[in-house]
């Protein structure tokens, strides 16, 4: 029994993921502190303000970061925030389009008005250079992103009339799978003279800029120090963070969907470990008996 056929383990893991996906149990989700901070910070932004979302990831980390992008866009539009989307990763612009598609479907299903391109949101696409792009945006959007992803000049986009530089933004979000991503935004934006973040507890954030992020589960712990030092005001870590955020928004999404399989799969693995140890001790006792 100690050499249980691996295929049984594989089958059980697969079922632990598939069954809760098809038949959700809805285990309660208790949002963690960094996610609450993330949500509360956005709530501080007044209606009609401008925010920037930087899509710094590619398809390989979609399961974790895409739900964050969708919830974030949904949150922004439901607060009537105007969204500028950019990408520091080549495939980030596609990620943004995909997320918008899903958000539109969600809003349509809820019977809410759809955000209008050019007025409520724009997608400026990818620019290489990482930190250099961040520096450039501090002073001039047009110099870095003369055209949007459709090839329209940004002077023809009404939204961009109001967003000339980072000083016109109330918040920057980086959805980050590595470098360039959150570390670049935290370090370079400060150096380039972006508006300072509000102090914890401050509720009037006019003239200030929030820096918020979403990261993969593996990389999230290295960003916690940024939260402690108020260099970032909130963080979504991994699928768990995305699910917490969806819970706060009361928006059922793929991350919350993923939490049941996640919990069950973790439990299944722990059960396997316990089983392995039970068999191990039983066998050891048997051997000891034989020996005596």
């Amino acid at each position: 029994m100690s050499s249980l056929d691996r295929r049984i383990i594989f089958l059980v893991v697969a079922l632990a993921v598939i069954i809760p996906l098809l038949l959700p149990i809805g285990l309660p989700i208790k949002p963690t502190a960094p996610v609450k901070a993330f949500y509360d910070s956005i709530e501080l932004i007044s209606e009609g303000s401008y925010v920037l979302i930087s899509f710094d990831y590619d398809p390989s980390t979609m399961p974790e970061l895409q739900p964050m992008a969708i919830s974030l866009l949904y949150h922004c539009f439901s607060k009537n925030l105007k969204v500028v989307m950019i990408a520091l990763w080549p495939q980030g612009a596609q990620m943004a389009d995909l997320a918008m598609e899903t958000v539109n479907q969600q809003l349509q299903a809820e019977g809410k008005p759809l955000p209008e391109y050019g007025k409520d949101y724009v997608n400026l696409g990818y620019k290489s250079g990482g930190g250099l792009v961040i520096i450039g945006l501090a002073t001039n959007f047009g110099a870095i992103f003369p055209l949007d992803t459709n090839g329209t000049r940004i002077s023809e986009l009404p939204l961009m009339d109001k967003v000339k530089s980072a000083h016109d933004l109330q918040a920057v979000f980086s959805l980050s799978a590595g470098d360039p991503g959150i570390p670049a935004w935290v370090m370079v934006s400060r150096m380039a003279g972006y508006p300072t973040p509000p102090q914890p507890g401050e509720t009037d954030i006019t003239g200030k800029m929030l820096l918020l992020g979403g990261a993969t589960a593996v990389s999230a712990p290295q960003f916690y120090p940024y939260l402690n030092t108020n260099q970032m005001q909130g963080l979504l870590g991994g699928m768990r963070g995305a699910a917490d955020y969806e819970t706060l928004l009361a928006l059922p999404g793929t991350a919350s969907e993923g939490m049941d399989p996640q919990s069950i799969a973790h439990l299944v693995i722990v059960v396997f470990i316990i089983m392995a140890n039970i068999f191990f001790f039983l066998e050891k006792r048997q051997e000891e008996r034989k020996a005596t």
Binding site: R6, G129, G130, G131, L132, I135, A138, T139, N140, A143, H167, V188, M191, A192, G193, P195, T196, G207
Partner: protein, 419 residues
């Protein structure tokens, strides 16, 4: 951090209270300016232009700083700044076509090259005195008065980065320790090296493969030859291949980098030659698959399933594929010996392989297998390095207690700060 070429404008955040003051100053300045082009007022000039060598480079760049024009604010008159440069104080001055946006109070003049490599602005030459002027450009091309630099600026080449003294000392001390013990060993001094379980098992694993008539599979990581772990892996491959040749077994080396494939095949061929069995070497057993991480894993998994190796070696740099390889290897019943210095992947090798060389043990392995005194000597040198580091950690932590009370006290921690 991005590269400096082309210069990075920096910005200052302006305190809101300064707003009123600057409006008043601006109004005052307007009243003084007699020439008004097309009825547009010209902005007040930037002031206090200073220049100095940009530090820590090979020369060719000058750092300029200035105080913003009083009209440099939101809704103000300034659109951007323009720099002019000359080698003589009296001129003539050339306008430098940099775009320096409003709000910048510094710029690094290091020349500019366009996308096709054509020089637009020549970089300042080393050891030559340069004079600069700066003007603020207003709407409609109106220019402010010029502001001349305080004194000439010279770009110089730095031969030493003083922030890296600690690294220099560490490099020299460690190198001396290692070389000293290599020298000692070459004099014939007897050296003790503790056994490494993973390496004791190498022979056993190859012997088992020979008995079973199955091949040995060796994976030198997924990175290229510039990675030192790969070099360590390939060096160990040489020793393992020699044993394989002596035992008359087969060794398979699928590679994910062409260069590694090329060098591995050379190393294995030599090993067979050394063992006196050059004709038993099968060049086709050392093969290239693909540079792609998971494409490579798919290929290696296929090889494992079909060739069913009796011994698997994973020695080099590994990422997420570590566990995929090790679990597939375990499912075909191979003895598995792994070694890597990647802290993130060690847990998976420890869990799924029979023996794992942890971190430094990987680098010790080639010395250990070769049994050459020179190589073993370097291990003793490494141990002395460890001892020194340990002492610094302990003494540094004790002194750090007092650093909390008296910040002026010597701080060992600061010796290890990296710049």
């Amino acid at each position: 951090m991005p590269k400096r070429k082309g210069g990075i404008p920096t910005l200052t955040s302006k305190a809101p209270t300064a707003g009123l003051l600057s409006v008043m100053v601006a109004l005052f300045v307007f009243s003084l300016v007699p020439t008004v082009t097309w009825g547009r007022p010209s902005p007040g000039p930037p002031t206090n232009l200073q220049g100095e060598d940009f530090p820590l480079d090979d020369g060719g760049s000058i750092q300029l700083t200035w105080a913003l024009s009083p009209d440099d604010r939101e809704g103000g008159l300034v659109e951007k700044y323009i720099l002019l440069r000359s080698t003589k104080e009296e001129g003539p001055y050339t306008e430098l076509p940099y775009s320096i946006p409003l709000g910048s109070d510094s710029y690094v003049d290091s020349g500019e090259v366009d996308e096709n490599g054509v020089t637009i602005v020549e970089e300042p030459r080393n050891s030559i005195k340069y004079y600069y002027k700066i003007i603020a450009l207003g709407k409609g091309g109106v220019r402010s008065e010029e502001c001349l630099i305080d004194g000439p600026a010279v770009a110089t080449r730095q031969w030493f980065n003083p922030g890296r003294v600690n690294m220099l000392v560490a490099s020299i001390v460690l190198s001396l320790f290692i070389l000293f013990f290599i020298w000692q060993a070459s004099l014939g001094k007897e050296l003790y090296i503790r056994p490494l379980a993973g390496l004791e098992a190498v022979q056993e694993a190859i012997g088992r493969a020979t008995e079973m008539g199955k091949p040995v599979l060796f994976i030198p990581g997924i990175m290229d030859m510039d990675d030192i772990q790969t070099i360590a892996g390939v060096t160990i491959l040489g020793r393992v291949a020699r044993m394989v040749a002596e035992y008359d077994a087969d060794i398979l080396v699928p590679c994910s980098r062409s260069l590694v494939m090329t060098i591995a095949s050379e190393v294995v061929r030599e090993a067979y030659l050394d063992a006196g069995r050059p004709d038993a070497f099968k060049p086709d057993n050392i093969r290239y698959l693909t540079d792609d991480q998971f494409g490579y894993v798919a290929g290696v998994d296929g090889i494992m399933l079909r060739e069913r190796p009796a011994a698997n070696f994973y020695l080099g740099t590994f990422y997420a594929e570590s566990l995929i390889l090790a679990e597939t290897g375990s499912s075909v019943g191979a003895i598995q010996i792994a070694g890597t210095a990647m802290p993130s992947q060690l847990p998976f090798f420890v869990a799924a392989c029979d023996y794992t060389l942890i971190g430094e043990e990987l680098f010790a392995a080639s010395a250990y297998l070769s049994k050459e005194p020179k190589q073993l000597g370097s291990l003793v040198g490494q141990d002395w390095g460890k001892l020194i580091f340990l002492l610094f950690i302990i003494i540094g932590s004790i002194i750090a207690i007092f650093n909390q009370l008296n910040p002026d006290l010597i701080s060992i921690k600061s010796w290890f700060e990296i710049q």
